[in-house]
Structures are given as structure tokens and as C-alpha cells.
């Protein structure tokens, strides 16, 4: 299918570019580690049971790291007017959206995969469990889905990188709430039935915002 191969071509391009320099990866990883350390110290003095704040810290870290990645991903297309190159191709504009979105998803998940073991050690919790991995994946789809659209807007403003959090955070608040609650429930050992509604909520959010972003992306990138 030509559509899919073009989407994958865009993902391939982003992966190759990042593998060559590893700029984004390294900065995201360092940033995430710093956030974890800072949280560790700022909560340590007040909270006895550090596991209580673990879900919140985890998701705040993911949210900020995602913002970094989303910014860099679109900034790549602004160099040398590369976005024009994509717009000139004889394909539906949605290919660009899905290509960038998948690329974002891959990168953010990769960073999360690195952060989780580190987090597990620091918080002395086992975070590598299937229900938790599913939650993280669903939450990340939420970030990447609407984040790709909003980063395309943000990169075209005077404030650039700073604009994305301003636009994105109020929108993904439901994702952060749902994911944090689900994560907390899983770590507390609750039966899956008790947190299933949060997961369904995430799925609904993901689907609706993928659709909304897909439909409005063209309006953002057109001249």
C-alpha cells in the first residue's frame, strides 16, 4: 500500500536522522534523569512513602520529555524548509501527520523504555509489568496524537519551543490524570477491573484526538 509505505518512509527518515546524531535522545534522557533526581530530593523531605508520589513523578517526567521530543521533531522539518519538501509530494497531507506521529510515538516510547528501569531502581518499585506498560503506551499515544498537531502550530509561532507546553498541557491533562490514576492503581495491586475505566478512557481520548488531529492537520501546514 503506497500510503503506508510513505508513512513508513517518513518514520524511517526520522529514525535514521536521530541515530546519526542521537541529539534528541541524549538530551531527553539527561532531562528525564534530572527531573527524577530533582523530584526525589524535593519530595524526600516531606513524604514518607515515596511510592505514593511515584505515579505522578513518572507522568510529569514523561509529559516534559514528550514536549522536548515533539519540539525537536518538527524543528527538524523547519530546517532548510524541509516541510515544503513534504508538502510538495503527491500524497495526502495526512501522510505527513501519521508519519510524524508514528515517529514521535517511537521515540517517546524508546525514551520511556530507558527511563522505566532507572525509575524502578530509584523508587524501588517493579515498573515493568504488562498492565503498566499498556497504560504507558496508551498515554503516550495521547501525547503523540495531539502533540504532533500542536507542535506543528507551535513551531510556527514567535515563541517556538515555549509555545508547545502552553498549548499542549491543558489539553493532555485528562491523559495525565487517567494515566497517573491507573499507574497508581496498578502499583497498589488493585484488580484490573478497578482501573479498567481509566484505560477505556485513554483509548477513547486517543481515538478522538487522532481523528481530530488528522482532520485539522492540513489546515495547519497549508500555506
Amino acid at each position: 500500500m503506497s500510503y503506508l509505505s510513505k508513512v513508513l518512509a517518513i518514520v524511517w527518515k526520522d529514525v535514521v536522522a536521530e541515530l546519526r546524531t542521537k541529539e534528541m535522545f541524549s538530551s531527553m534522557l539527561v532531562f528525564a534523569l534530572l527531573v527524577i533526581v530533582i523530584f526525589n530530593f524535593s519530595f524526600d523531605l516531606r513524604v514518607e512513602n515515596i511510592a505514593q508520589v511515584a505515579p505522578g513523578v513518572l507522568w510529569v517526567t514523561f509529559a516534559f520529555a514528550s514536549t522536548l521530543e515533539l519540539n525537536r521533531s518538527l524543528a527538524l522539518e523547519m530546517e532548510n524548509d524541509c516541510l515544503d519538501g513534504l508538502l510538495l509530494a503527491p500524497m495526502d497531507r495526512s501522510v505527513i501527520y501519521f508519519g510524524k506521529m508514528l515517529g514521535n510515538l517511537v521515540f517517546i516510547c524508546a525514551i520511556e523504555a530507558l527511563i522505566l528501569p532507572i525509575f524502578s531502581v530509584i523508587f524501588d518499585l517493579n515498573l515493568i509489568r504488562p498492565p503498566l506498560l499498556l497504560t504507558i503506551f496508551l498515554g503516550t499515544v495521547g501525547f503523540a496524537g495531539v502533540g504532533t498537531l500542536l507542535s506543528a502550530i507551535a513551531v510556527n509561532t514567535r515563541a517556538r519551543e515555549v509555545m508547545l507546553p502552553v498549548l499542549l498541557f491543558p489539553i493532555i491533562l485528562p491523559v495525565v490524570i487517567a494515566a497517573t490514576k491507573a499507574t497508581g492503581g496498578i502499583l497498589d495491586g488493585l484488580p484490573l477491573g478497578d482501573i479498567a475505566h481509566w484505560l477505556r478512557f485513554l483509548v477513547a481520548f486517543d481515538i478522538i484526538f487522532l481523528v481530530v488531529s488528522y482532520m485539522t492537520f492540513d489546515f495547519v501546514v497549508q500555506g
Binding site: 503506497s2 510513505k6 527518515k13 536522522a17 532548510n80 524541509c82 515544503d84 519538501g85 510538495l88 500555506g223
Partner: protein, 241 residues
């Protein structure tokens, strides 16, 4: 090949194009000259489907813009002073990527042919950002013709090139033009305009004010016409010789 009638483009309250009428026949090489701010880039970007017209008629190869944009894009190649290539990717990777999104069959072969054509075989494994400006422009052209478009749009392609690079570019353009592609090029250099194009037009303040066959024109004729329509100092910039 191209029919433009009363093309208007406004950005909010300011008008970049105020009623452009233009016809370009198949195989013709048209150069559009004009001062900065005249609307040359806007005109070309509309033809490239990167901008939408505010009003007016634009037909490319019989297809109406903006309703048939996707089909039109298959037929056009666009070169601007930005290279539209990814600095971190190698020359080869850049072309392979474009080959894929343009649905080129046998991408590797095509990339190989292009690298020979633009003389970048030796640098195929180097990241694009290590290339000189002249080489980047050649890579950009390879990118633009990868799908063998019938219409080439070149927006001030000589910008930032030294003499040697400019000469190479001129040779390359001659080759491309000789393949009876239709070409529309913009420049503010009057001499370049006469080099090997068929027709030259002057765009001033959002309108085509002058059009002539190059065969019957000397550089002086063109300069006179330019000063007549554009005046001097209207944008504070003199046309180069």
C-alpha cells in the same frame, strides 16, 4: 501548460498579487524578473501548490488549482534558495527518501542516475550539511527532478552561489531545459534572465507588466523596460547587471 487569469493573493489586508495574467506553453522557458517584494516568490509558490490563491484562475496541464493539487504536484519540481534536504541525512539517503514519497519504482537506480547527473557520486555517503552551498543546490535539483516532472519551478536558484557553482548550475539547467520541460524561473538578475530562456516577463507590484521573446531582445532593451516599469529606488534596490 500554464494558464493564469486574474490571480490575486492577499495575506490579510496586504496584497502580494493583484491580478496576474500569464500563459506559458509547453516546453517554454520563462524567466520572471522583478524587484524584491514584487510577488515573484508568491507566484511560484502558488504554482507549486504551496500557497492557495485568494481568487483567480490557475490551470496547470489542464488541471485546476487548488482542487486538483495532488495530481498537479506529480508534475512539478520545485527548487528554491532553501535546499529542502535534511542536513543530517546523507546525500543518498535524502534522495532515497524523496524517491519513496514520490513513489518512484527502482529507487536505487534512479538515485544512482541522478547522482551522476548532478555530479555528486563522490559525496553520496556524506551528510548533506557537509556540502558546500553549490553542491547543496545541485542536490536540491536532483531532489526536484527525481520524479521526472514536466514543469520546473525555480525560485532565484542562483542565490548565494559563487561563480563556479553558478556556472555548474547553469549547465545543469541547460540540460534540464533541453529535455523540453517547461521551466519558470524567477530572478532579479537581468543578465541571467536572458541567458537561455525563451521569454522574459516583468512582475512589478503584483502584476505582470511586460512580456517579450528573448530572441528579439538585448540586455539594454530589457534594462530600459525594467526601469520604465519598475523605476529606480521603488524598493531601494537596483537590478544587478
Amino acid at each position: 501548460m500554464i494558464q493564469i487569469q486574474d490571480l490575486v493573493k492577499s495575506f490579510g489586508h496586504s496584497y502580494a498579487l493583484q491580478g496576474v495574467d500569464l500563459e506559458v506553453s509547453r516546453g517554454q522557458f520563462l524567466t520572471v524578473v522583478g524587484p524584491n517584494g514584487a510577488g515573484k516568490t508568491t507566484l511560484l509558490r502558488i504554482l507549486a501548490t504551496l500557497l492557495r490563491p485568494t481568487s483567480g484562475l490557475v490551470h496547470i496541464d489542464g488541471l485546476d488549482l487548488p482542487s486538483r493539487s495532488a495530481e498537479i504536484r506529480r508534475r512539478i519540481g520545485f527548487v528554491s534558495h532553501q535546499s529542502l534536504t535534511y542536513g543530517k541525512l546523507t546525500v543518498e539517503e535524502n534522495l532515497t527518501f524523496y524517491g519513496r514519497i514520490y513513489d518512484i519504482p527502482a529507487v536505487e537506480e534512479r538515485v544512482d542516475t541522478l547522482l551522476d547527473l548532478v555530479g555528486l557520486q563522490a559525496r553520496r555517503h556524506d551528510p548533506a550539511r557537509t556540502l558546500s552551498r553549490g553542491m547543496q543546490q545541485r542536490l536540491s535539483i536532483a531532489r526536484a527532478i527525481i520524479h521526472q516532472p514536466s514543469l520546473m519551478l525555480l525560485d532565484e536558484p542562483y542565490t548565494g552561489l559563487d561563480q563556479q557553482a553558478a556556472d555548474m548550475l547553469r549547465q545543469l539547467l541547460q540540460t534540464i531545459a533541453a529535455e523540453s520541460r517547461t521551466v519558470v524561473m524567477t530572478t532579479h538578475n537581468l543578465q541571467r534572465a536572458l541567458e537561455f530562456c525563451d521569454t522574459v516577463a516583468i512582475l512589478a507590484k503584483g502584476r505582470i507588466v511586460y512580456q517579450a521573446e528573448v530572441a528579439s531582445l538585448t540586455l539594454d532593451d530589457l534594462r530600459q523596460a525594467y526601469w520604465h516599469y519598475v523605476g529606480n529606488g521603488s524598493t531601494g534596490k537596483r537590478a544587478e547587471t
